[in-house]
């Protein structure tokens, strides 16, 4: 690895962390504000910053609530229960948040970056090398996503088990069985996309979505696999343990489930990982089904509209547009997940498992079989 490669990697990692943590912070506000709008309340307008020595209060639609939350969590007493296992208790929050951040390493958040063209003064240093905008352009993309998301299950179970609290233990048991069930559904729905694009490399999958089908439709995954897209989103929300699938932390039954005994920033880490996971699931959905960083009819050189009309763009504009497109799509998906969260009531425990094994799983298998047969018929 040479110095330019290393510098680019560092920039990508800083960008990804900044994006994810910002999403985590902003989504706490979006959740409140969207819920208020949906239920016709004013909502989220109590926290403010007063400009010193004046009576001017900056409310800014309640944006400071996130800051108030963060300060409160950081300054609260870090109460520790008399846990069975101090090590497992301390490891829980880490295992919950680190894999969620790591998943983003294989998600492409932009097309190909040519830093020499972007900054002509550095062209010599980069020597004409180009970089895909993805922290780890690894061949085994989707497999890595599933490998890391499997580790979060262990985090939830360790946290619940080591808290020495029956509510936590029940939450951990629920988390374990729920995540295992829905991960299976998620894997099977993704297989359809893998069959269609013929690769598990997320970068290649997004590249293959940049063309058009039937002359005008963008060649996005959702056009080929609309059914799998719905199943994937359902399984994704379930993986994130949010309403209607929030049985592991159902506050009316289990206080707050597997992280009942965590306080201060440790509890904050669980909350933050949940909000970051909203963004990560959004990013995965966008990558697999919504064409990633592609706008319709756009490629690495500019727009080519269905009529044959072309609008060329400079490299800088293309990079900025691709980054913004990806962020915009992810934000839309996050907003949709919050819409679901404030619309549906919670499942009962037996309904939740029955839904996974007797409804989603057969549908996912049917989708896979139909896709395989259709592809085979096309090739034959």
């Amino acid at each position: 690895m040479t110095a330019p490669d290393f510098a680019i990697s560092l920039v990508y990692i800083a960008y990804a962390l900044a994006v994810l943590l910002t999403f985590g912070a902003i989504l706490t506000w979006v959740e409140r504000k969207q819920a208020a709008i949906m239920s016709d309340r004013i909502g989220a307008n109590r926290a403010y910053v007063r400009i010193p020595f004046t009576q001017v209060k900056l409310i800014w639609l309640g944006l400071f609530h996130g800051m108030a939350d963060g300060l409160k969590l950081l300054l609260k007493e870090d109460f520790k229960p008399l846990a069975y296992d101090k090590l497992a208790y301390a490891l829980g929050p880490w295992l919950a948040i680190v894999p969620v951040l790591l998943v983003f390493a294989v998600v492409p958040f932009g097309g190909t970056l040519d830093p020499g063209r972007l900054f002509p003064s550095l062209a010599e240093w980069f020597g004409g090398r180009t970089y895909p905008m993805q922290i780890a352009p690894i061949d085994a993309g989707i497999l890595i996503v599933f490998a890391f998301s499997g580790i979060t299950i262990i985090g939830a179970m360790l946290a619940g088990w080591s808290s020495a609290n029956k509510f936590s233990l029940l939450g951990a048991l629920r988390a374990g069985s729920q995540l295992i069930s829905y991960e299976l559904v998620m894997g099977l729905t993704v297989l359809g996309i893998v069959l269609i694009f013929g690769t598990v490399n997320l970068g290649t999958i997004v590249e293959r979505q940049s063309g058009t089908v039937l002359g005008f439709l963008p060649a996005w995954g959702i056009v080929y696999q609309p059914f799998a897209a719905v199943l994937f989103l359902i399984a994704g929300i379930a993986e994130n343990k949010r309403i209607p699938f929030d049985l592991p932390e159902a506050e009316s039954e289990l206080i707050s489930g597997y992280f009942t005994e965590y306080s201060a920033m440790k509890q904050g880490v669980f909350m933050l990982s949940e909000f970051i996971e909203i963004a990560v699931i959004g990013a995965l959905f966008v990558t697999l089904f919504f064409g990633g960083y592609n706008l319709p009819w756009m490629n690495d050189t500019g727009f080519v509209f269905p009529g044959g009309h072309a609008v060329p763009l400079s490299h800088g504009w293309v990079v900025v547009l691709q980054l913004l497109t990806f962020l915009g799509k992810v934000f839309l998906l996050c907003s949709f997940q919050i819409l679901v969260r404030w619309t549906l009531p919670r499942f009962r425990w037996d309904q939740l498992l029955r839904f996974a094994w007797k409804f989603l799983l057969p549908l996912a298998i049917a989708n896979l079989v139909v896709t395989a047969v259709a592809l085979w018929a096309q090739q034959a």
Binding site: M157, L158, L169
Partner: protein
């Protein structure tokens, strides 16, 4: 020494430490955690050698599937079970002897082999990418793979037999 080699040694040390802790730790959950860290370090070694597919399957299958179920079961155990107090079973001595023999054999073969086969940090070799790997796997090694499942069935039967005999002696 490049950073890649350094990372290989680091992950190797972590894997060894995890393995030793797994043998020494008393509580099943600690044992499971040690095993998880050992497997993650092994995955790190594979990734540093450029065999990403093997690294991913190491995490996906061993950590994401096997260890998740183990942790799930350990969660349901009674943490005050008296059997957690004893550190080693009667098989300590034969185990140590066999372990030393295995380590010796591996060491000797490593010395005889000489130079390392894969250089760390060389990037993924083309034959280790997902597609060639899976084609090769299903063409050449499908029989070995299926035979492993027979082995697993035998292990399940053995486990049931052990539980049965244990229950009978309990009366």
């Amino acid at each position: 020494m490049t950073i890649d080699q350094l990372l290989v040694y680091f992950f190797g040390a972590c894997a060894l430490l995890g393995g030793v802790l797994m043998l020494v730790a008393r509580h099943p959950m600690r044992v499971a955690l040690a095993l998880i860290s050992c497997m993650l370090s092994l995955a790190g070694i594979y990734a540093m050698l450029g065999v990403h597919v093997v690294a991913v399957f190491q995490v996906l299958i061993y950590v994401g599937a096997v260890m998740v179920f183990m942790v799930y079961v350990i969660m349901l155990l009674d943490v005050r079970d008296p059997s957690f107090v004893r550190r080693y079973s009667r098989m300590l001595l034969p185990g140590v002897v066999l372990g030393a023999l295995l380590a010796g054999a591996l060491g000797i073969s490593a010395i005889r082999l000489g130079a390392p086969v894969i250089q760390p940090g060389a990037g993924a070799a083309p034959s280790y990418l997902v597609q060639p790997f899976s084609v090769e796997f299903l063409r050449e090694y499908w029989l070995h793979f299926e035979l492993t499942s027979v082995l697993l069935v035998a292990a399940v039967v053995a486990a049931i037999a052990i539980i049965r005999s244990g229950r009978r002696s309990d009366g």
